[in-house]
């Protein structure tokens, strides 16, 4: 449940970018931060290993401003994608309001996508949340690699593997180039705020 301060008319929304390791979660946040740094006027916090991997999480908070009297604050997080950091992932998931699942479109990553999605479902259950009910957007990342001749999974296969049951909005994207990064972000914010509205009504 989002933090809603009715007295101060403030809403804090926690959105998490989840997915397999090396899928592009941090790249999504980096693009948003670098592209809109001046507008969102914030700092991105990131903790990495010596090998440039996300060790704990990335954190990008920003303020959308006052909308209809409510000050809407968005908090974007990533989780470490490596399998061994499940405790950290679970910890970061606490209090989540919306999720962007960043799937890796590379053919060799097919199994890792599926495992990461199952892992997400299990971790949400720990917080009594359902993957079918939480605001959820899927991003099929690394679509730009097709031009480099690297084998990618067809979108139909990705949808069948990851979205067959969920039937959530999905975007083909390239986080490093910025393609559909913003579209993904806008969608998850809209869905999450709508969900909060529904809960409060």
């Amino acid at each position: 449940m989002a933090f809603v301060n009715l007295k101060n008319k403030e809403i804090q929304v926690k959105i998490i970018y989840y997915g397999p390791g090396r899928g592009g979660k941090t790249s999504n946040l980096e693009y948003i931060y670098r592209k809109f740094a001046e507008r969102i006027n914030t700092e991105m916090v990131t903790v990495k290993t010596h090998g440039d991997r996300t060790l704990f999480f990335d954190f990008l908070p920003f303020d959308i401003g006052v909308i209809n009297g409510y000050d809407v604050k968005i908090q974007l997080y990533t989780v470490p994608g490596q399998v061994k950091y499940n405790a950290t992932r679970r910890l970061v998931l606490r209090g989540v309001d919306g999720i962007v699942f960043v799937a890796d479109s590379m053919a060799v990553r097919r199994e890792k996508n599926i495992l990461a999605l199952k892992n997400l479902q299990e971790n949400l259950v720990a917080y009594k949340k359902s993957i079918f009910k939480i605001p959820f957007v899927i991003q099929y990342n690394k679509m730009d690699l097709k031009e480099q001749g690297i084998p990618l999974l067809p979108v139909k296969t990705l949808e069948k593997d990851l979205n067959n049951q969920l039937k959530m909005p999905s975007f083909q994207a390239s986080a490093v180039l910025g393609n559909n990064v913003v579209a993904t972000l806008k969608k998850i914010i809209s869905m999450t705020v709508a969900s909060i509205k529904k809960d409060l009504a």
Binding site: K35, Y70, V108, G178
Partner: protein, 243 residues
């Protein structure tokens, strides 16, 4: 309880605010920002793993390294030069997995060198095929030198074993030593690049047997040290008892 009318209006206004805030048309990335944005780098995971081996050798790390090399071989299955690099790295990875800290010290240096050259070949879009082959050939030569060095060390160790080992203990120990699993530089079963670059054949019937003997020799040295340490301990115990 929130005022639902307030929240309804909020939703509509949110769309407009997001459009204003995240409109991409009028803010191109600056050069500096472009430099900061990382392009996709297909070898990044492999680089992490190889760098990690400098810090620590664990089962998980080596499994990940070998799996990553398999993944990359699928990705680059049509690029014979890159495939050859990956096969050399796989051979070295398997060798390290079998021998861990006892692996020949130069193995790690060559592993890094081969990766560095692979990195250069993959990232340099303007590099010609002959230039790539030249780099590959240099790494193949280093690999062959290492293989020869391992064989040489093994022979020396085997000779030392023959001189020092008492005859009555040799037979059972030999039978035990034959069980030592050596699969890393078994070039005949894993010929890196033999089918890729005709002028750089590295298949050779001898190395597998040579490496097996080297492993035997290493085992022998380990036993020798173990025996010496045990004898020393016994001597200390005896000395303490007398005191």
């Amino acid at each position: 309880m929130a005022d639902s009318k307030d929240i309804d209006t909020l939703s509509a206004e949110l769309e407009n605010r997001l459009d204003d805030l995240f409109s991409e048309n009028d803010i191109p990335l600056t050069d500096a920002q472009d430099n900061n944005l990382k392009e996709y780098y297909p070898l990044s995971e492999l680089k992490n793993l190889i760098l990690s081996i400098d810090w620590e050798i664990t089962d998980e790390l080596l499994e990940n390294l070998l799996q990553q090399l398999k993944d990359l071989q699928l990705t680059y299955e049509h690029d014979k030069i890159v495939m050859t690099f990956l096969q050399i790295l796989s051979s070295l990875g398997n060798y390290i997995k079998s021998h861990r800290a006892q692996a020949h010290p130069k193995t790690f240096k060559i592993l890094n060198s081969v990766f560095s050259s692979l990195d250069k070949v993959v990232l340099s879009k303007d590099m010609t095929e002959p230039e790539k082959k030249k780099i590959l050939r240099a790494e193949m030569n280093r690999y062959k030198v290492l293989r020869a060095q391992i064989g040489k060390d093994k022979t020396a160790a085997a000779q030392h074993k023959m001189k020092t080992r008492p005859a009555d203990t040799e037979v059972p120990e030999i039978s035990e030593k034959k069980a030592a699993p050596i699969r890393t530089i078994d070039v005949s079963s894993q010929p890196p690049g033999a089918d890729a670059i005709a002028e750089l054949p590295i298949t050779d019937p001898k190395p597998a047997a040579e490496v097996a003997t080297l492993a035997d020799a290493v085992e022998e040295i380990k036993r020798y040290f173990h025996t010496e340490i045990e004898a020393l301990k016994e001597e200390i115990r005896s000395w303490r008892g007398q005191k």
